[in-house]
Symmetry: D2
Subunit: 324 residues, 4 copies
């Protein structure tokens, strides 16, 4: 038993930050596919519709086919270029919003070509930094209206919104599970759901396992999962499992309990690591976590729930993890 793991294509490559442009030499798209294919346990990739992709999407398709990698989802690129610096769909600038809409529809049109129905929207630039900089009502309304329009653009597609409390803005509009599910509830479209990034939840002071339950309760809205690890204060995007253990067990438990059937896409920034190996590490940790969760004693867990017994839960986890 294993969840179908995917990886963001670029994540098997290199990463840079605001101080250092090049920790290592970047790879070509072709090389990235080759590297993703070399990870044992991966069978798919997630793509981002960056300019290089848009220029020749069929090169990407060819690469994915050659390496036997399914494409799980394509994410809009509404964050890597200066034009988006004050937002995409939420921008007060009509020309920018139209550009975003055109891009989105272009990507939606491409989805069937890649054998997928899932569009990912991470509106990283849609937010604000300064006090009195933004019309919170107008900006949010524009964003919501745009997603609504997209949801009706083509039959058969699904859209997932990925939230994050901040970065690159100090404040994002699609900031946490609550604000995202609220917008989904208000829109009431069956084909729009939520993409949960495990690390984003952590630094929003959410418990990712509880977010899984929340999505179940409010419309079965968990459409996609991104995974990584961090120290709780920032989106460190580290190897999945390199810091936390028990929290992943609870997360995978709730994915099973709620019948999640989507993918789990590794989303890491290997600044100083080999991206391929960092990705392999994440697969290996997740396999181990899932094997452990598969052995969990549900009756014992339910007994903990019934009494909200923290001591018993502690004992159950130790037994499950370490057998003692």
């Amino acid at each position: 038993m294993a969840y179908p793991y995917s990886v963001f294509l670029v994540n098997v490559g290199t990463a840079y930050d605001r101080y250092c442009m090049e920790y290592a030499t970047p790879f070509t798209a072709e090389e990235l596919f080759q590297r993703a294919a070399a990870v044992d346990g991966l069978y798919a990739v997630d793509l981002v519709a960056v300019p290089d992709f848009i220029k020749d999407p069929f090169h990407y398709r060819k690469c994915s086919e050659e390496h036997g990698l399914k494409v799980v989802s394509i994410a809009l690129d509404i964050f890597t270029e200066g034009v988006w610096k004050q937002g995409s769909f939420s921008s007060p600038d009509k020309a920018v919003r139209q550009k975003a809409m055109t891009h989105a529809k272009e990507v939606i049109d491409l989805l069937p070509e890649f054998g997928t129905d899932l569009l990912t929207i991470w509106p990283g630039q849609d937010g604000y930094d300064y006090l009195f900089q933004s019309d919170y009502l107008g900006d949010r309304k524009r964003f919501q209206d745009a997603v609504l329009e997209l949801s009706e653009y083509k039959p058969g597609i699904r859209i997932c919104l990925e939230y994050k409390p901040k970065e690159p803005r100090t404040h994002s509009y699609i900031s946490n599970a609550g604000t995202t599910l609220l917008m989904l509830e208000k829109m009431g479209k069956a084909n729009v759901g939520l993409a949960l990034d495990y690390g984003h939840a952590l630094f929003a002071y959410e418990n990712p396992a509880e977010v899984v339950a929340l999505c179940k309760m409010y419309g079965d809205k968990l459409f996609h999962v991104h995974i990584n690890d961090n120290y709780r204060y920032w989106d460190d995007d580290m190897i999945t499992g390199s810091i936390r253990t028990l929290e992943y067990l609870e997360f995978f438990y709730w994915l099973r309990e709620t019948g999640y059937e989507g993918h789990i896409t590794i989303d890491q920034f290997p600044y100083r690591e080999d991206g391929l190996m960092a990705c392999q590490e994440s697969v290996n940790w997740m396999n181990a976590f899932q094997d452990i969760v598969a052995r969990a004693d549900k009756d014992e867990i339910h007994a903990c729930f019934e009494n909200k017994d923290g001591v018993r839960a502690s004992k159950m986890m130790r037994k499950l993890l370490l057998g003692v």
Copy 2:
């Protein structure tokens, strides 16, 4: 022009913490009313239905009348006694839930006696601490169902839910603006809204001004405001205005813009301060903030919004605050 200020009755008195039971000698209810009445600019109090209140609510009413203090709202006491340690309306224990329901209905019945229609629910114990301790689906469902039941118990009452990310639990169910408005949206009851505690929003990494807008957008749900100040990481419950300045200006601006007509209730824990004087300080700061906001140049603010211009917003704020 001034918002009607209130204060939680106990907040003009003393506070204790988990290390020190008595920083100063507590006051009687009668003395607390006397002290609240002595604060220049206050004209109301918020009450909590603690055992001493329930024992003789009419003593409290008499005191409020004698001191000419309106009662803005009464809050349930579902957090000061051991029986609530694993939650109230969300508890898996039916007897506890029933006790909470009985208490709530008793308090609702008392509302008209105090000339108010507003019930405050802060479910501080409804959450969890340990991993695998809680059935997130069941607990949340029970809570939501109970509030729904309460909303229909008596015509003419209004209920406000106060969220907080944590404390006294490490995780609260009603945790932030998003999860609260989501529940309200799902319930769809016109008489159930949100109580925004300014400090809770701060340490949820929310911008309280944006929360005001969010409440406006999703059903005009801002029913009540609690106010205080903190350092952003914890519910320090300090004197309003003693740390932040510009953030309050933006907050009061959005309260005006969205036409908020409720009260602003001071909610502080004066561990080492004289509660009366700490409350007076908050009133004085808020009066100053509102005078400043009343002078704001709306056209200039809208110009900032249209271009999302952080530099211009900075200049506008300095001009507004300091005149330079």
Copy 3:
């Protein structure tokens, strides 16, 4: 192989917080000793010189002897009474400082009666809350001078200072490993060291394992360890091992590597748990962690260090923890 575990006597009992005075019925000192003795794997307690202790310390000694529990250290009580609300040794009020000094010398005089040489000082009230409230130079100077005086009061005693970033003040003077070791370095007294509370380090955004190394490097100053677990943002004082796993492994590794020979004292606040069982859980987790660390492949770890290889460290940890 096991570190000598101790527990703060009160921690096998009950705890309260600023909302709820009594989650459960408190125990007598005698009952607390009985409960501590019932924890399998504990052989010692840490005491706090609260008024009940000062009133009759020999009752406490008798209890400890009857239950075969060694006393590891006695901590000053400079935080549970209103007199300390603006600090103890750092207070600008001379009478308060003298009271603290008298109390400290009284406790030092008692140490030999309890078969220990170790005084613990946690200056929880020595700090500040408000801007412009405190003379940072004067307050800190007074505190440092007092500890210097205490260090010379009696030959043969040792003093450990326990830091914490905040709570009950919003800012503590003895705030983190750096400011504490700095003061120790400046004082230059061989008998004054540091008490590391694992949870305090976590929410100071320190890595406790690195703090162990820091103490080694700057004077071999690790005199005492308190242990518990939390979610990184606050001193949640939860069961040790109930959240983190790998971080404890690294911590115990560095305790071994640096030759730590002191005690490990469980320091938890079991608000809703049975204190005895919560303590037992912590012992059980720590035994497991130490067994695992004892099996660690040092050569492999050093290889990680030499290349600062995060991927290899991840693999090493998984192998060590899960064998896969």
Copy 4:
């Protein structure tokens, strides 16, 4: 009366982050000097010894002279290239350490050519990300030894170490005021001090005003100040004064009280703003703050200190800031 303001040359230009390489078109060095010179109230710049500078430092000198801009300090570039990805002076790789040493000495040799004696060291890559990745003792020792060597390389130079809790590493070795002053105390070199970045202190949960006092107390070690603003959780590097007000007043008060005579260098990342105008905003806010602090009633402040009176401090601040 005004502090001599400087700015990091690049900060009047553009910035990028890990998602977007180019929010705006970058400027040449010459243009940057021109822009810095256009900021009213600036009279100096701080430089970073990036490759472009090293290639032709005298071009930079010529520009600074042409625009009448003094050079306050030159910072090592031990963070913008891949070679430093696992640290500079702390690296376990001897070749990397030597490269850092060579670079540092080259920059020190250039200091007199720029009319300054002050070298800035921000060891942004000297830290770690993963558990078990690093030998905390060895790495820190190597760093300390290197700074010691540098301090003795040339007579008449001064070195300032700039701390930061994290970023680009998840953990920095020179992490906060305490660990930095501890290293300085241990080294005992009169010509090595501390560079306080206001924003770094904020997100280390320090009070910058208290850090100023701490530097005074432990060897008068405040050599340099960098300034900006943020939301307390991250190094947002925003316009100085755009968020906080009272905290800056306390900061400037303590700079005056401790007789700070160094510079104040604006250090911002204007991702979406015009860097020149963002810098001008910071100057304007700081001028206003200093005018206000110059009017402060010291007797009243000392009265607050003597009683640690938070209410009185609140009143004093409001009077000072708003006159009411």
